[in-house]
């Protein structure tokens, strides 16, 4: 009796784990956040990096185009893409950059910005990374191009490169 019970539990556990893996495998699109394109951003609230401002979807509605960039001072590829962000800030007229600092220490984040330059119109901090997850962001850097109706136009996973830079310039003309 005891053995049958044990058997049942073990088989059920095995089926559960394998089943979960299988569904996880089939659901890979949940990792592919590209299907968010065309949908609208959910409402969100974050404190600004220097805690003097509340950053939410209303601020996004003020600008024709917004590039929400997720970054951290500890992230190597973020350094690599930083020059494109600086250029975007300078050259893309209708675009405002919103930086969301991901799982980072505020001190280090500010240091990073004073060293490499601050391309952001608004800087928000998501020190626990929870809000970023709602944006469909799991790894950084990642950037989301949003218009003033909160509609997601495009997502850029990984560091921005020259082509994507041009792409953003064209999209926001």
């Amino acid at each position: 009796m005891k053995k049958t019970f044990l058997k049942l539990i073990l088989f059920a556990l095995a089926i559960f784990i394998i089943g979960t893996f299988y569904v996880g495998l089939k659901k890979t699109e949940i990792y592919d956040t590209k299907n968010l394109i065309g949908t609208n951003l959910d409402n969100f609230t974050l404190n600004s990096l220097n805690e003097d401002l509340e950053i939410n979807q209303e601020l996004i509605k003020e600008n024709q185009y917004n590039l929400i960039n997720f970054w951290a001072s500890w992230c190597g590829p973020c350094r690599a893409e930083h020059k494109y962000l600086m250029n975007l800030n300078r050259n893309a007229k209708n675009l405002k950059l919103i930086g969301i600092n991901f799982k980072d220490d505020k001190k280090n984040a500010n240091k990073f910005l004073s060293k490499f330059g601050d391309p952001y119109h608004y800087s928000a901090a998501d020190s626990e990374g929870k809000v970023s997850i709602n944006f469909g962001v799991y790894g950084i850097p990642e950037s989301i191009l949003v218009d003033n109706n909160l509609k997601i136009i495009k997502k850029f996973i990984g560091p921005l490169n020259q082509d994507e830079y041009k792409d953003i310039i064209n999209l926001t003309k």
Partner: protein, 627 residues
């Protein structure tokens, strides 16, 4: 040409596997005490063909034969020879071929070295091992063929990811695979043992060398991975509790538990079923780890090779393995009686198993729970170092104490007499801990306790070592060395974790910066061309103002062309007492460079300790052989 040769060899290996399975089944019904010589010959051919196919792949990489997709995608003519060779197992396809080779080689060695034992046990082991081989060969042929051709033949390859071009990482997969895949042989042997009723002591003796080999290599493999992370990732850390790292750690916990339980089975003829469970679990968890890493389900920063179709295949294979193991286990296992006294060696060896399973559970929850939650609930969480620190670290303390005291206790029954000496050792450990505390600064209670218990274990091990050298009667020198290594590992991790000094600043060429007792002069910067990359090398003079000690450091920024990537090479001066770690990164449109300075005490001792742990396994192996 090479492509055809390679595929032919793989197909021959596949056909031989099928033949071996068939012949073994036939041989099972022949009443004879020895395994048919023909089967041995077949396995020898199978091993030869399999090794040859891997050599063909290496040759293709060495001569840059870009008619192979795999070579085209992962190599480049300008790559140094060493990395051309390691490129052979740098990709998913190549590493799968390596995986198959290890399966085949272990099956061959097991057959050769376990020659005189129970015939049906050997044959069943061979049959199940060849089912595993066959499964992976089919996977290779239909989904991940390293010999696939490309036409027209490209003139140049795409290159190997520069961050992977590192000596430690080049040897990391083979080492880890000997550990992971080597565990397949006792998965097969475990099932064979149940079916053929070849149990207990004999079974323990036959698998012990393979457990030791796979454990030792896996320990080295994990160490090589950490060394790579430390030297190459440029953050100064060496373990990030990343899911991919966890996937390599989980089987290690189970093998470690198995290694200890096998001793109990061998000496006391007990816990047979538990040993079988561990045998089955080790390889199952290894394959689960491979599934998690290769399918892309983990979505970790480390996942470089993922493809859901691969995942599906591995998952089907994994399910077959799990259900086969469960069914065979319940069909053939028998009820056992245990009567261990609390104060006996067997109980304390099993204490190792409790801890290993606790650590395993913690790491498994941290790794799998986010996946389960996401599938069931669409909620995404990420589990990071704080979880592992909070759950695992406190339990390291009793674990270390058990490791020190356990080996002192006799088999079956013990009267505990050494209370005074243990008390003295504890006092010595506490004094040493506070010495460290006053010399290096302050840290938390849990760190204090971990350091005290690790010193406690070290003193115990050193004491045992001295007894060993005095009278060579103490037989378990391998245990002493591994336990000493583990005590040192925890101690040095603790010290390096608590007492690393760090400084981060910007400098221009010609400038200097003072902080605490150091001064750094940024002397010059130079651009150099290497074979497959360009590099910017900074020259820094580090002066210790207190001792007037000087050191020149050369951190680099490397610019690789194929594929175009920037990597930051830390300049690391390793000394026995500490590592000086300096990285430099450029700041766009500015003459300034961002400099990160770290002084990490006793870093090299972490690697030495890990190697010491593994060497214990090798010493035991040599002893088994000479006996």
């Amino acid at each position: 040409m090479l492509s055809n040769t390679g595929i032919t060899l793989v197909i021959l290996t596949t056909l031989l596997s099928i033949t071996v399975i068939y012949k073994s089944f036939v041989d099972l019904h022949i009443k004879n005490n020895l395994v048919n010589q023909k089967i041995l010959n077949l396995v020898t051919f199978q091993t030869t063909f399999s090794i040859l196919s891997f050599i063909v792949l290496i040759v293709a990489f060495v001569i840059s034969d870009f008619s192979l997709v795999n070579v085209y995608e992962n190599s480049h003519t300008k790559k140094p020879l060493f990395y051309k060779i390691s490129g052979a197992w740098g990709s998913h396809e190549g590493s799968l071929l390596l995986w198959i080779n290890i399966l085949v080689i272990f099956s061959f060695l097991f057959l050769v070295f376990t020659k005189h034992n129970n015939k049906s046990y050997l044959l069943y082991t061979l049959i199940f091992q060849n089912f595993l081989i066959l499964g992976f060969l089919i996977f290779l042929l239909i989904n991940s063929n390293p010999f696939s051709k490309i036409y027209p033949i490209p003139i140049e390859g795409l290159g190997l990811n520069p961050i992977l071009q590192d000596p430690a990482l080049a040897i990391h997969p083979p080492l880890l695979y000997i550990g992971f895949v080597g565990s397949s042989i006792y998965f097969s042997a475990g099932i064979a043992s149940l079916i053929s009723n070849c149990r207990d002591k004999f079974f323990a003796k036959s698998i012990k060398p393979w457990v030791l080999i796979s454990w030792s290599f896996q320990t080295l493999g994990i160490t090589a991975g950490s060394i790579w992370a430390y030297y190459e990732l440029g953050w100064g850390g060496f373990w990030f509790w990343d899911p991919v790292e966890n996937a390599s750690l989980m089987p290690w916990f189970v093998i470690t538990a198995l290694m200890h339980s096998v001793i109990v089975l061998e000496k006391r003829n007990s816990i047979y079923s538990w040993v079988i469970i561990l045998c089955l679990l080790t390889f199952t968890i290894s394959v689960t780890g491979t599934f998690l890493v290769r399918s892309g389900i983990l979505n970790s920063v480390h996942t470089f090779a993922n493809d859901p179709s691969r995942g599906l295949y591995i998952l089907i294979f994994l399910s077959l393995m799990i259900f086969l193991a469960l069914i065979v286990f319940f069909r053939y296992s028998k009820k056992e009686e245990y009567n261990f006294l609390l104060k006996s060696k067997e109980t304390l060896i099993l204490a190792n198993n409790w801890f290993m399973f606790f650590f395993l559970t913690a790491v498994m929850i941290g790794t799998l729970y986010p996946i389960i939650l996401e599938v069931l609930n669409n909620t995404k969480i990420s589990v990071g170092p704080p979880f592992y620190s909070a759950v695992i670290f406190p339990f390291v303390i009793p674990f270390l104490i058990f490791m020190a005291l356990g080996p002192k206790i006799n088999w079956i029954k013990n009267k505990y007499k050494e209370f005074l000496s243990n008390f003295l050792i504890l006092i010595a450990a506490i004094i040493l801990n506070f010495l460290i505390y006053f010399l290096l600064g302050k840290y938390s209670i849990i760190s204090n306790l971990i350091i005290i218990s690790s010193i406690f274990l070290i003193i115990h091990s050193v004491k045992d070592l001295l007894t060993f050298f005095k009278n060579k009667t103490v037989s378990d020198i391998s245990r002493i060395i591994s336990h000493l290594g583990f005590g040192m590992l925890i101690l040095f991790i603790g010290i390096s974790h608590n007492f690393t000094t760090e400084n981060d600043f910007n400098l221009k060429v010609g400038e200097k910066k003072k902080f605490s007792v150091y001064q750094i002069n940024f002397n010059s910067i130079q651009m150099e061309n290497e074979k497959n990359y360009k590099k910017i090398v900074g020259e820094f003079r580090l002066i210790n103002l207190k001792s007037n000690f000087e050191e020149i450091l050369y951190p680099e920024i490397r610019i690789y062309e194929q594929p175009e990537t920037l990597t930051y090479e830390a300049s690391i001066k390793t000394k026995l007492s500490s590592d000086i770690y300096l990285t430099m990164s450029n700041i766009s449109r500015s003459d300034y460079y961002n400099i990160k300075f770290q002084k990490k005490p006793f870093m090299i001792w972490i690697w030495i300790s890990a190697i010491l742990i593994a060497s214990g396994g090798f010493i035991r192996l040599i002893k088994i052989k000479t006996r």
